[in-house]
């Protein structure tokens, strides 16, 4: 700490920085927590929500940490009384901006209302579907913002339910713009943007048409980016609260990109799929198939038993019957016509381990190199 070049002070401690970094970057690098709402990794900062404000010595007003570049010698306080009171005020305004009832205390039977989320089937539309995984709710808890000081705004825009995947509930939208950035700067599908002005502001697609009639390709990046309950997966809504599901990290089963995903599991069923924001190659991004195309797993059409053709029809059989028949037939054909009269089509869908076993079986047991898969198709 001998030289003052490229040094700033945060909460009384010196830190070095690189040109072009924001206050938020430097703080995060040094494990100093500054809360954010509208900030989206990989997109340009907008400073829209003003939750990340910090006090900079000598500045007339509080500054947004996400969009303020650091300058040499800057002296920053991230949790000063002014900062805390500003954030609390911002949160109270956000709570009043729409249908955000989870933090507002004082109402009659509020506790019972809140505890509804613990019920097995709580699909009470009054309780936000994002209860328990909402950034606004978390921040209100942290800053003890209870709302109620301002009159609650009722949106004039009805929720959009007219597509198979995404519910847009404008009553719960805080206009942070994360979805707009996710769509335009991360996926670059350019389907949604801010529309109208002032208190009429709304996130719109293609001149305020439903998503299904816009350029939207239902990648769901906006849903994953939404910090509140304004954008939720249609099929997952009210199926299970987040603390009742188990998250398993795995690799997507569709194309060759190999997106890293979380399967959200409840009662042996996939409830929803989200992208793992911390892993390459996709860093949280997914496509419509990866995010919404998992119904096949629990489909009632899944094969449930071995089948053997008898009298021209496929009929249920035991594993022992099926495997014995296959082993006998393969042995017989190999004996009579040689291994090269048998072919194996292994699969681009199964694991490496399984493909290796198919390769070993074909060559070592059937004694042929007739193995291939659909790489060409």
């Amino acid at each position: 700490m001998t030289t003052n070049k490229n040094q700033i002070i945060i909460n009384g401690n010196n830190f070095s920085f690189e040109q072009g970094e924001t206050i938020l970057n430097v703080a995060r690098k040094n494990d100093i927590d500054i809360p954010t709402l509208c900030e989206l990794k990989g997109a340009s900062p907008t400073g829209a929500c003003r939750i990340c404000v910090v006090e900079v010595k000598g500045a007339k007003a509080l500054m947004t940490a996400c969009s303020t570049p650091v300058a040499n010698g800057m002296d920053v306080m991230t949790e000063s009384p002014d900062v805390i009171s500003s954030r609390k005020e911002t949160l109270n305004l956000l709570l009043a901006s729409g249908n955000h009832n989870c933090a507002i205390s004082g109402a009659k039977d509020w506790t019972r209302f809140q505890l509804n989320v613990c019920k097995e089937e709580d699909n009470n539309e009054e309780l936000c579907p994002s209860w328990g995984e909402c950034k606004l709710q978390d921040l209100c808890f942290s800053y003890q913002a209870t709302g109620g000081q301002y009159q609650q705004n009722r949106t004039k825009y009805p929720a959009e339910l007219a597509n198979p995947f995404i519910i847009r509930d404008f009553s719960r939208c805080i206009l942070c713009g994360r979805c707009v950035q996710a769509c335009n700067e991360i996926q670059v599908n350019e389907a949604i943007n801010f529309g109208y002005r002032g208190s009429d502001t709304k996130i719109v697609a293609a001149g305020d048409r439903p998503l299904k009639d816009s350029d939207c390709v239902f990648c769901g990046e906006c849903v994953q980016a939404c910090p509140v309950g304004a954008l939720v997966e249609k099929n997952a809504r009210y199926t299970a609260r987040p603390w009742k599901t188990e998250k398993i990290k795995t690799t997507c089963t569709y194309c060759g990109v190999g997106c890293q995903i979380f399967l959200h599991i409840r009662n042996n069923k996939i409830i929803k799929v989200t992208g793992d924001a911390t892993s390459s190659p996709n860093y949280g991004s997914l496509c419509v198939k990866g995010r919404f195309g998992f119904d096949f797993v629990n489909s009632s059409e899944r094969l449930s038993s071995p089948l053997i053709r008898k009298d021209g029809e496929l009929k249920e059989a035991t594993w022992a019957e099926a495997l014995n028949l296959i082993a006998n037939k393969f042995s017989e054909i190999k004996e009579n016509y040689g291994g090269d009269s048998i072919g194996v089509l292994t699969s681009a869908r199964i694991t490496n381990e399984e493909n290796y076993i198919a390769n070993k079986f074909t060559r070592a047991v059937l004694n042929t190199n007739n193995i291939d898969h659909c790489a060409r198709l």
Binding site: G256, P306, A348
Partner: protein, 528 residues
């Protein structure tokens, strides 16, 4: 891919050809779109359809179907003539430059225009843009490979990349985008007729010896086996008696389906192992239920050669088994013991016999998240970029390649070209995606994409079903007038079994890779 997905954003110029990236690899398409929109990178799209990505491109050029060797040679012609190739790279790292110079001499922009219908000045402009990049990345997909000249097309792209020194560097590369979750892994693991795992050739006695010892068998067969597209016709001639199909659906995915079905019906015995009763399973002798990806442990290798874990999240339907278990049990009944505790134990064996997977362990995958092969030992960090400093064979070899016409041309009876492909909402033969109501709502049925001009010409009406016929068969599909189409060519996705585009496609194969020419055939359109 020679390079990684993240590397795409590091290229100065991205050349995408034969890849409808926004529909087939949507997440990769975002890397390309971001590079163009926010990082000031240049994009060249070369595709017979005006695909979505073309809207982001600095240059979109439209070659005639099956004319890829011609435009690639044309680019090289200009780059050599204007002396803007990477001399240092060519001199130090390649052989055969004189031959490529000789071959491309006749591919003047004017000559190329005649073959490809690409204006000569666009060839020059494109050549200058690609050659001018410090790092240029080529991304391609089945629009390049699914031709009778598929191998030629790929080799030509490699020639172009070498000429401009775009291999072994960040942001460069020749990058095939692989279509299926583990198509890379199936190839890596010896799911090919001529190689064991890690591309160790069955023809080489030392490789056979090694595998004979590892697998404890006296003699392994020495001649390469049949490719998938060769097996089916051999069933017709009776040379192939039995087929064991694991998680494939050739009765929708193969070319010239009417013929393929006739061939398969001639088999004495067919086993299909799958998660659904597919079109192929319906005519099998034995059907076995498998577990799906969410029900088992294992690994997939993605398009950038990265080995990543697959983890069990739920219990499978009671009777379903893992594919490796089923195969091992059949082996046991054929008096060959294949006993494994779990997938991890199989990976240990893979690592022990596969040099490029030598350093792969589940412990490492857990800690490191994913490892790019080649990774020869447990200390090796993996290889995100191939060919840095040298090629595996030493110097890169230029392959002089001449242009050959596609196997089928339009004529009076079949006046329109058909090219097939996919849509974003479905996957391959639809066995999985068509179980999702939402995906079906977005893409409910087969369609034929056509220009307004052609629709008028053949008296076709938007949204109405028409007949599309080739020399091999006929299907009916809904007319979809689209700005993506180019007059003279229609596009049909092949996902839909009830209007299978592969009823129409040509079974003509590339002589080396045996890939069918899905991207070019001649059809006629008529109102029903």
């Amino acid at each position: 891919m020679t390079n990684t997905i993240a590397d795409i954003e590091k290229a100065d110029v991205i050349l995408v050809t034969g890849s409808n990236t926004t529909e087939n690899h949507p997440v990769i398409s975002s890397f390309i779109k971001r590079a163009v929109k926010f990082k000031n990178k240049k994009l060249i799209v070369i595709d017979p359809r005006k695909i979505k990505l073309a809207e982001f491109a600095d240059i979109w050029i439209r070659p005639a179907l099956g004319a890829d060797v011609a435009w690639i040679n044309g680019l090289m012609h200009v780059i050599i003539k204007e002396d803007i190739y990477d001399k240092k790279f060519v001199e130090e790292r390649t052989v055969g430059f004189e031959q490529i110079k000789e071959m491309t001499a006749k591919f003047t922009p004017e000559y190329v225009e005649k073959i490809t219908e690409i204006p000569a000045d666009k060839i020059i402009e494109t050549a200058r843009l690609y050659a001018g990049a410090k790092a240029g990345s080529i991304l391609y997909c089945m629009g390049i490979t699914q031709h009778t000249t598929g191998t030629d097309n790929v080799k030509s792209l490699a020639n172009l990349a070498m000429l401009c020194g775009n291999l072994g560097i960040e942001g460069g590369g020749v990058n095939p985008l692989r279509g299926q979750n583990n198509v890379q892994g199936a190839c890596d693991m010896g799911g090919l007729p001529d190689v064991y795992s890690g591309y160790q050739k069955v023809m080489l006695p030392e490789m056979r010896k090694k595998m004979e010892a590892a697998w404890d068998v006296p003699v392994l067969p020495d001649k390469p086996g049949l490719k998938a597209t060769e097996m089916i016709p051999k069933a017709h001639t009776g040379e192939l008696k039995a087929l064991y199909v694991i998680g494939e659906n050739p009765l929708v995915s193969d070319p010239d389906l009417n013929h393929a079905k006739k061939c398969i019906e001639k088999l004495d015995f067919m086993v299909v192992q799958d998660i659904f009763l597919t079109e192929t399973a319906k005519i099998a002798d034995v059907v076995l239920p498998s577990k799906c990806f969410a029900e088992k442990e294992g690994t997939f290798s993605n398009t950038e050669r990265k080995i990543q874990r697959v983890r069990k999240a739920i219990e499978a339907p009671v009777q379903a088994k893992e594919d490796w278990q089923i195969i091992s049990e059949i082996a046991g009944k054929m008096n060959y013991s294949m006993r494994y505790e779990n997938a991890e134990e199989i990976m240990k064996e893979i690592a022990s016999v596969t040099p490029s997977y030598g350093g792969i362990t589940y412990d490492r995958l857990e800690k490191e998240g994913g490892i790019h092969w080649p990774c020869p030992n447990t200390e090796h960090p993996g290889t995100p970029i191939l060919h840095v400093g040298a090629f595996p064979i030493g110097k890169g070899v230029f392959n002089p390649i001449d242009y050959i016409e596609p196997a089928e041309k339009t004529d009076e009876e079949y006046p329109v070209y058909l090219t097939t492909g996919r849509v974003i909402y479905h996957y391959h033969t639809g066995t999985m995606t068509m179980k999702s109501e939402g995906l079906n709502e977005r893409a409910p049925e087969c369609f034929v994409e056509i220009t307004n001009e052609d629709a008028e010409k053949y008296k076709l009406i938007e949204g109405v079903k028409v007949s599309i016929a080739s020399r091999r068969g006929e299907i009916n599909a809904i007319v979809k007038i689209s700005k993506k189409a180019v007059s003279g060519t229609v596009f049909i996705p092949f996902h839909f079994a009830n209007a299978a585009a592969n009823t129409l496609t040509n079974g003509a194969l590339d002589p080396i890779s045996k890939i069918p020419e899905f991207k070019v055939c001649a059809v006629k359109l008529s109102p029903l």
